[in-house]
Symmetry: C3
Subunit: 260 residues, 3 copies
């Protein structure tokens, strides 16, 4: 499915996206998803996640602000997604930072995510490499994460996407790079987490590799437009939501994509 | 009390509003309440809610992002509100989506909310009807929820308010519709939840039916002004907070109200 | 260290700031910290805080939306900070409002914060005085909190900072007042909490008293610039983040500082 057809489908179907994400990201991730065309729902109680995931068209799991109880919810939701053939996206925020976080990530990986999205440091460390990340911000370049991403994709039989100035998306066999966005984006919190939610929204309406490419393209295009208007991170966020909403299928410029 | 007198009272008294709301809504609901004239406080620990509610002038309870512990807090706070003659507002977000959510809502209803605010799907389902909602977004029209709203209001002896392109507010005997707002509002997350907080702020200074009408009128007027300026959901949010703050009592146009 | 040198160091080093803050503040506090130059990480699970704090350059603890579990995390993180010689900042939001909150604050004070930041009502009550605060908003003037601040600073051997129209910062021996900001700031939620995070970011790169002065100066300057552009609380927030990011070391006007 081409990116423009994927956006068309997203707007027409407005799929229900079950998001378990961190407290910092919840509002902006919901707004990004809504602006782009999805219908997000943030639900995380262990008592209800397994009932809710099968109603949704996709699940996204982001480990930014973990707790023991939420790890249980994440695992229950991922298992319910698998049981109901609902695709699910994993965002392993700073998984290397503590043993608790590392363990949660391994448990989630065992539940076979459809798509993994992270920054370069996260993807390198997930593949067993030694990156320079400490917290939520990347300390490595996307180009240094490409082989890690390919290896992870093959090993876990999933799509792996690495965000950065030039994004990289692979399923282990085919890979693309995407240009665009704005250098102000790392100065706005939780945009990566929001992209994870958007990848989820697209994965509800398109096959996983094409969905990931379309979501990144939508993000890159909106980011570039917003960056051209913004005077800083505050006005960037405003213009970015406006652009995500304003973009039409024909605006997803495939010239941003290079096949590797 | 007329809407303009209610806004005057809100600005003069700046009442303390105890909000137990969801993680997505907390920031925007606090900003909406502050911009309009109230003083919001988000407090939810079971160890302290019952001490805090009686200090506040009103309590608002929104079940968006539930957990077992928060359900206990919500019930304790509602009971404390009743004990201290503090009015309280219930927002039963997607209460039909899971059994856990449905049970929590029934338990809260038994604690006799002063006002219930929801979207059409939520109000129809709350009255035992069969709506088309799945997540937090409505799948039904407000006009189809009017008889459900009237029935609920009579049965629970409370005010029931249904948000949508044309809002509907009833206490079972008297009912009004309110026009205004903007069609961009459903593309901004948690505005309904924020309206619940604003209804709470007004309920601290005016009788419950008049308070609900005034809050919806303030929201509708600010939404219409912001919609006229906005280029999308990002700029809408900014203009909306500015408008909520800028509106003066004389700006609450009673021509938006029709009595049903 | 002069304020301009502190900002220079903040931008160059981009220190990792471990924030345990409330749900209302998480997004804006992270955005304020990022815009100014730090690298915030919100991590709060008892299972991981003590592993994470020593990796960070500073810890900030804000008790806005407490729970029993988070109190344990806050204490564990503060103890880990002390063990690793990491400075830490305490923001005792509405600590007087409930016994639960008061007890948590006393436990945290016993762990010897490097810096305490609050509003006038919070600082007066922390020193045992009787203020007029009820919730998160101050009911007292900064000038009435000066002797409380000095007493607290001497007793706890820390820096105490009081936010308001004219801020006051003291270590018990030396004290300064800082002018600036905008009268729209109390109408935007969680700006005080965000200032706490910014104080933390500066405390990672400068001695505690100078760091606090530099953070308040940065905030006051950005607030004044944003206030001059804004039409209300929505546009203020946008302009404020832009200004925090745009300000250069030479813009931190020491003429805002008066020594008391």
């Amino acid at each position: 499915m081409q990116p423009n057809a994927a956006l068309e489908a997203l707007r027409t179907q407005s799929p229900l996206v079950h998001c378990i994400t961190n407290y910092v990201a919840m509002n902006i991730a919901a707004n990004v998803t809504l602006a782009a065309g999805g219908s997000p729902a943030m639900i995380h109680a262990p008592e209800e996640v397994a009932d809710f995931t099968p109603i949704a068209r996709v699940l996204t799991v982001n480990i930014g602000t973990l707790s023991a109880q939420w790890v249980e919810s994440m695992k229950a939701a991922a298992a319910a997604a698998n049981g109901a053939d609902v695709p699910w996206v994993l965002d392993p925020v700073a998984h290397f930072a503590t043993p608790f976080r590392a363990k949660a990530t391994l448990d989630l990986l065992a539940l076979k995510p459809t798509i993994i999205r992270g920054n370069a440091s996260e993807i390198i460390a997930l593949a067993g490499g030694s990156g320079s990340g400490k917290g939520a911000d990347s300390g490595d370049n996307v180009s240094d994460a490409q082989s890690s991403a390919r290896g992870l994709a093959l090993y876990h039989d999933c799509v792996v996407a690495v965000s950065g100035p030039i994004d990289f998306i692979t399923d282990g066999k085919q890979s693309v790079s995407i240009t665009g966005g704005s250098d102000i984006m790392p100065k706005v919190t939780a945009l990566g987490c929001s992209l994870t939610a958007l990848v989820g929204a697209y994965a509800a309406v398109a096959p996983s590799f094409e969905a990931t490419v379309a979501a990144f393209l939508h993000f890159a295009e909106a980011g570039e437009r917003a960056g051209a208007e913004a005077s800083g991170p505050g006005s960037f966020s405003v213009a970015f939501l406006d652009a995500l909403h304003a973009l039409q299928p024909g605006d997803l410029a495939e010239t941003r994509i290079s096949w590797n």
